[in-house]
Every structure is written in C-alpha cells, then in structure tokens.
C-alpha cells in the first residue's frame, strides 16, 4: 500500500493532463471524466482513513524513494493524524468542485486539467515528508490557481490573480530561504523532515528563530494572517465558484498545516519563541476579519473576510501550543473547509442565477427558493459556530487551548463571535427573509446536482459537530506528540 499516496498525487496529475487532450467535440465527457478521477482519489482517501491506525504514532503509508541523492532529498511521502483529515478534505472538496463546475463552457479540458493539477499539488503538500518536495508541491499549487482565476474569473480577474500570485510567491520564496538555511544549519545535510526533526532541536535558539521567521512568512501569507491577508478577498471575489471552494476550503489550510507540520518538530525553540507574536496576529485576524466582513455588501466578500476571521481561530489554537489548542486548530481547519466550501457553493449558485452578489439585490428569497435559503441559513449558523455543527467544536477547543497561555486573547476571541453572528445574520436576514425583492420572484431553487454537491458538506458539518471524536480520534495521537514537543 505504500504506493497509494503516490497514486493519489499522480492519478489526478496525469489524468488531468490527459483531459486537456480530449478534443473539443467531445468536451461534454470532460466533466464526467474529471469526476471519475477525483472520485477515485476520494475513494482512496476514504480507504486511507479506514485503514489508518489511529493509535499508532508516527507516519503511516510511507513511501521513500531516492530522488536527488546529491542533495539528500527524497520522494518521501507519508500521512499521520495531522495530514489525514486534510487529505480527505482535499479529495472531498475537489469532487464537489468538479460537480460545481457545471457552468464552465470555455476551454473545458484545460479547466479540469488545472483543477486536478491543483488537487495533485494540494495532496502533495499534505503528504510530503521532504522539505523540497513540500516546497515543490507548495509552488505547484500556485500555477493552476493563477490560471484558474485569471482565465475563468470575474471582471477584475487579472489584478486579483496577479496579486494572489505575487503575494504567495513572495511568501513562499521566503520560506524557501528558510528551508535552505535549515538544511545548511543542521549537520545532517538532508531535507528529510523526519531526520531533521531529530537533529534540529540542538540548533541554537537564535538560529531557530531566524529560520522559523523566514518559513513562517511563507506560511502566514497562505493562511492568511493579518496583515498579509489582502490578496484573499480579491482572489475570492474574482475566482469561479469551484475555485473559491478549493481556495477557502483547502488552500488556506496549507499555511496552518505548515505551521503544525514544520514548527514543533523541525524548529521547536523558534516555534515557541514566535508563538506570542502569532497569538496577537491571530486575534487581530479574528477581530479584523469579522469587523471588515460586517461592512461588506458583496456576499462573496463577506464569506472571504469571514475566512480570515475563522483562520484566525486556527492560528490562535496553534499559537496556544497546547494539545487542546492544536486539536482545536485541526478541527477548525477541517470544519472551516467544509463550511467555507458550502458557503462558496451557495454564493456561487446564487450568482449563477442572478448574476449579482450584492446583498441589496436580494430579499425574501426564502419564499421562492426555500431549499437554497434554508441551506444558506444552515451554513451561516454553522459558520457562526452553532453547537451541533463542526465550527463550534473547533472554536471551542481553540478557546479551551488558548485560555491558559493567552487568557486575554481567548476572551477577545470568544467575544468576536458576536461580530460573526452580526455579519452572517445580517446577510441572511437581508437575503433570505424580509419582503421579497421583485427581481427575484422567478428564481429557481436548487437543482438535484447542486443539492448533491452540498449535501455531503451539510452532513459532515453536523456529523463532526455531534460526534467530533470521529475526527479527533484520528489525529489525537499525532497532535499530542506535537504538543509534547512544545511542552506547554
């Protein structure tokens, strides 16, 4: 089974490229083919989850092939409790993104090629155990994302795509600098994460801090942490629906995953030294994201800024450095993937029907499209952290984890929920309820395929919300090991 992880990267990559070779006359088969490919990856990731041994620590399904022996970099893959949920999330959201891409009619083959390439890159990031491989996939993600936004995006796509690209590229090159420094600083002269982890603890604290700052900049742009977040709303607003789903659902998690994967193991002292700063920035992200969301009139912008706020909780959990904080961050990552995915799917379907996302262009649509409006209310409540849904568990555990090291921040984070409630309810109230806007009188309710793309998310949101142990059980062994390294 050691080839399974490699297959989960190669299948979408190669299959995706094959899709672009399908002649235009047969382009109606492209989406089903993409669905089959991404479905196969989803099935594989489900099987991975099923056969994952939650009690065993360390990496599983490892594959370690020499790649560039001269640099001691290897094609080293593996999953642990940290990576597994992200792998599953990626596979799931890609399938839904493919389903949600039904309105793409321009250059269909290329579109799905890029979408699957994106999946391959994301998978690669989450299962890489070699720093160069990690960085490689990290960058691979950037390219399809850029083209997906700039070709199939909205009116201002060129600016948004470029801004996204430049921001994240700048960040990731800083990270590359950090990786090189780490390679040179440790005696082992290897890029293997597991080997570096055994050696880097002896590095002087100042060196660790310097290296981790460089790496953290790259990660922080992706998360994004205030003040490196400005690319996100632009990118979201211009991106096509399916891409927004993946952007908010998985792409942002690369950053927070990187913090967990690289920080405690590779640079424990540097990680610890930076935690107070991360905590402050996380709280600012939480409050700032929510406050700005409150001022938006474009639904997609609201959801985009809410992502900044919600990822702030993830970062606060990570900055807490405690088991509960880490677990909370992980749960919140998974949960935000589901919820943000759902919200963007909803905004996308609304936009497809009405070609507007301005809140003022709606009103009372619950009367004409009850299922759509109902799902929107559901998603809004999931997003604002209603118990019984996954968002609550994540945020609660983050606050539990953060209360001890950062009491004040935890208090602020808890109160920021009020802002969240404010902007989401305001949106729902103006869009779904109230007097019916005449222009929307003939709006169509969700179709079966739209409903099918949202149903798994809704079910998972509730499932995780009611029985979070299903998720936590898988990751707790790995996360506890990480928390022990931080030692808080």
């Amino acid at each position: 089974m050691q080839w399974l992880l490699a297959a989960m990267i190669v299948v979408p990559l190669v299959g995706g490229i094959a899709l672009s070779l399908i002649p235009v006359s047969l382009s109606r088969f492209v989406r089903p083919a993409a669905l089959v490919l991404s479905g196969a990856v989803l099935a594989a990731s489900a099987w991975l989850w099923y056969s994952f041994d939650a009690t065993a620590g360390g990496m599983q399904f490892e594959l370690n092939l020499p790649w560039i022996p001269g640099l001691n970099t290897a094609f080293h893959l593996g999953v642990d409790g940290l990576a597994l949920p992200m792998v599953f999330l990626t596979a799931l959201l890609t399938v839904l993104a493919v389903v949600a891409s039904r309105s793409i009619d321009d250059r269909v083959g290329q579109y799905f090629t890029l979408l699957l390439m994106l999946e391959a890159g994301l998978m690669g990031v989450f299962v890489s155990l070699d720093l160069i491989l990690f960085y490689l996939f990290w960058e691979v993600v950037l390219i399809p994302m850029y083209f997906l936004i700039s070709i199939w995006g909205g009116a201002n796509r060129s600016y948004a795509a470029l801004k996204f690209f430049i921001y994240t590229l700048a960040g990731s090159l800083a990270m590359l600098g950090g990786i090189i420094a780490l390679y040179l600083a440790t005696g082992a002269k290897t890029f293997d994460m597991l080997q570096i982890a055994q050696q880097s603890a002896v590095l002087p604290r100042s060196v660790q801090i310097a290296i981790f700052i460089a790496i953290a900049v790259g990660l922080a742009v992706k998360v994004p942490i205030f003040p490196l977040h400005t690319w996100l709303p632009d990118a979201h607003v211009e991106a096509p629906t399916a891409v927004s789903v993946l952007l908010a659902g998985v792409l942002l998690k690369m950053g927070s995953y990187g913090f967990m994967r690289l920080g405690p193991t590779l640079l424990p002292e540097g990680f610890k030294a930076l935690l107070p700063l991360l905590a402050i920035l996380a709280v600012i992200s939480i409050v700032y994201g929510a406050a700005v969301a409150l001022m938006q009139t474009d639904m997609k912008k609201i959801v985009a800024y809410s992502s900044i706020s919600h990822m702030g909780y993830v970062m606060l959990g990570i900055a807490a450095g405690t088991t509960a904080g880490f677990l909370g961050a992980q749960v919140q990552m998974f949960s935000h993937g589901l919820i943000a995915g759902l919200l963007f799917l909803l905004v996308g379907t609304v936009y497809e029907r009405t070609h507007t996302r301005e809140i003022s262009a709606f009103g009372g649509i619950a009367k004409v499209v009850p299922i759509l409006a109902g799902t929107m209310v559901f998603a809004a409540f999931a997003s604002l952290g209603l118990p019984g849904m996954s968002g609550f568990i994540g945020e609660f555990m983050v606050i539990v984890g953060a209360i001890q090291p950062y009491t004040v921040y935890a208090v602020i984070a808890a109160f920021a929920v009020i802002l969240t409630v404010g902007y989401l309810l305001w949106m729902v109230r103006r869009v779904a309820f109230g007097p019916l806007n005449k222009d929307r009188a003939d709006m169509k309710d969700l179709t079966l395929s739209e409903g099918l793309s949202m149903a798994p998310l809704c079910l998972l949101i509730v499932f995780v919300g009611v029985y979070p142990q299903a998720l936590i059980g898988v990751m707790s062994t790995s996360v506890e090991a990480l928390a022990r390294l931080v030692g808080r």
């Binding site: 109902g374 409540f381 209603l386 118990p387 009491t407 929920v417 109230r429 142990q469």
Partner: protein, 488 residues
Amino acid sequence: MTNLPVLAIIVLAPVVGALLIMAFGRGQIAPKAIALVAGTVSLTTSLWVFAVYDRAAAGYQFVTSVPWIPSIGVSFTLGVDGISAPMLVLTSLILFTGVLVSWNVTERPREYFALLLLLVTGVFGVFAAVDAFLLFFSYEMAVLPMYLLIAIWGSTRKDYSAMKLTLFLFAGSAMLILVLVLTYWAVGANTFDMRIWASHSFGAVFQKWVFLLTLIGFGTLIPIFPLHTWSPDGHVAAPTAVSMLHAGVLLKIGAYGLIRLGLVMFPLGWADWRMALALIGVINVVYGAFCAMSQTDLKYVIGYSSVSHMGYVILGLAMGDRFALTGAVFQMFAHGIMTGLFFALIGFIYEQTHTRVIADITGLMRRTPLVAACFVIAGASSMGLPSTAGFVAELLVYVGLVIQSPWLAAAAFIGVVVTAAYVLRMLSRILLGEPSAAVAPIHDAPPLRFVPMAILAGTIMLVGILPASLYTIITGSVMPIVTKLAGG
C-alpha cells in the same frame, strides 16, 4: 434504579421524531402525528422520572455517561436532580401541548414540526446535562430552530425579531463559553463534569468575575433588565407553539443555568453580586409590570409580564435561602405552565379573530366560555391568587425576601399590585361585555384545541392545590446549594 437510559429516551425522542418527520413527513397529518408521538414519549417518560425520583436521596439520579470528546474531557453525561426533574416535566408538557395547538399550521408543516422537535431536544439537553459542555451545547443548539421558526412562521416584524433574538443570545453565549473555558482551566481536571466542578473551590477573585460573566450570559436569557428587550419582540413575532416554548421553557434555561453554573460553582461570587441581582430582580418585577400595563397587544402584555414574573425568579436566586430558592424554581415551573397557557389562548383567539389588540376583543365569555375559563385560571396564577401554582411560588419567594430584606419585599410588592391591575384590566376587557365585531362570529375551542388548554390549566390548579410533591423534590436538591451559599 434502572438500567434503562431513560433520560436519553427523553432527550432523543424528539430528535428521532424530527428525523422521522424529515424522512416520512409528507402531507399535513404525518408530521403532526409523529411530533405528537415523540411528545407523548417524552412526556410519559419525564413524568415517570418525576414520579420515581428518589426524593430522600436527592442529588443526580438516572445518570448515564458516554465519552464524547475525550481529548478535552467532554462526556455525554445525563442526569436529573430535584431542580431539573420539574423542568423536564415542564418542557415535555409544553411540547405536548405545543404540538396540539399547532395542529392548524398549514405552511410547511414538515419543516415546522421537525424544527420544533429539534428546539425541544436542545432544551431537554440543557435540563438533563451533567456535563457543562453538553449543557451549553444543547442550549445553543436550540437557537437555530428558534431563529428559523420565528423568521419563517412568525408574524409582526419577524425577521427583525429573529435576528435580534439570535444576536442577544449569541452575545450571552460568548460570555458562557468563557465561563466554561475559564472554569475548566481553573479546575484543571480535564473534565466538564459539573459534579467535579462543584466540589472544587475557586479563588475569590476568580469567583467574583466569572460569576459576573455567568450572570450576564444567562441573564440575557432570563431576561434580566436591561438585557430584556429581545424577549417581548421575540414572543410577539413567534408562532404560538414557539411563543409557548420560548416564554414557557427557554427563559427558564437562563435561570436554570445561573443556578447550575453560577450559584453552585461560585458561592463567593454570588455573595459579591447578590444585592445587584436582587435590585435587578425588583426592577424586573416592577418595570415589567408597568410595561405590561401600557401594552395594547395581548402578546406584548404577556411578553412583558414574563419579564416581570421572571423577576421573582431572580429575586429568589438573589436571596438564596431555602424558601426563596425553592420558590424561584417553583416559579420557573409555575410561570412556564401559566405563560404557556396564555400563549395557547392568545394563539387561539388570534387565529379566530386575526387581531390581538385588546380594544378589538370583548365579550369572549359569551362566545367562548371554555377559553374564558382558562383565561381566568391563567390570570389568577399570574396575579398569584391562592390555589394556583403562581401563589405558592410567589409566596415562597416573598417569605425569603421578607426574612432577609423587608425593603426589597416592599418594593417588589408594587409589582404585585400593578400585576393585579393589568391582569384584571385585560381580563375584564376581553372577557366581559358584549362581543365585539371581531369576536361575534367565533366559536369556542373544539376538543382538539381545548385539550392542551385544559391540561395546562389543570396543571396550574393541581400544583396550586397540591404543591407538596413538587415542593419536596425541589427542596431536596436546593438544600445543598443553600448550605453552600450560606458558607457551609
């Protein structure tokens, strides 16, 4: 006792009902029938629990526990004591009668009853929880159905009211999250079990501030002045059954939570704030009564009367001696039944006459003698006349009040006078005289509609005449709290 997880049956019967309704609840009758069955199951089971509860042993009984999120020590632990048992009975009574009075709901009955059952699940969860996390979880879980029920099936300014209610409740719950997290941290035993929490002695400063948070968090729900403004709006906007649940049960969650998390955990904090609490109680009683006096809409009258009546509960909690505290819990039960009856009656009147304006309704006695009789019983309980439940409750609170603070008793007594005034004024207007144009064509309640009214009215009388069973079960569990508050 018994090995049957009876409490789980009570809590889960509505969920199962809701799922069944979503699955099979086509047409008009099926959802109602399923809801009624679920309500009956809960009602009979909770009556059975109430009956067999060992009053001599007191403490938590029927405890069942399942691990839920072991990583942070959350468990699904249910149990009842003498305070929660009456609340379970109250809730299931209101649910049962609420389903009956909603028999005429024709707009989307499937969603309506499913949400109603979900709402009740949350309420049951609060009252049956031994785990603080579960308590909070259940309480917040009730918010979403509440929001939807008001926003979709409500009347007057429903979307505004729904949003206002949700915002207030979430603001309160932000504080409660902190209470949970801070207490969890302070106990440091990796558990949310309230029995273990209660045995921990917290520092004085900690108690002072965390009690304040608890007070504001749950106080919003009671509602305490000046955080009460959402409540009358919510009552008015909600459909009948929801108003019943809202005023009858939901407000009690606030007081219940304040006892469970505030008084039991933080006796020193209680001592710091009890005078402020008492003052608020008096203001609630008097201010609520005056507001009720000046209303012209029947529902607003009852809405503000709830503010006033809950003032007695607050006063009882503030006094904290054996009589007052028992009286407070007694009042929670009595007010729940009484206000449920009021809303059932008003709902019926509104359904028939399409008006709730007092001036438009006269002479109900002539046209609808049965309804009028119920009005009288409810009014009597509201005024605290002997042989009604309200009398016992208010008497107990006043006994405690007079012993400890005659001045407050005197001040609160203004409320009794004003209450008598507005209740009598209302009753005389709508019951006596010639039937008005709106009343003239209506007929008395058909059996199906009269049954719930009769059950509630009968309960008021029964508890008023034979209070001993209720009194002993409450006192048994109140005594340990009283001892603790007294510094024992």
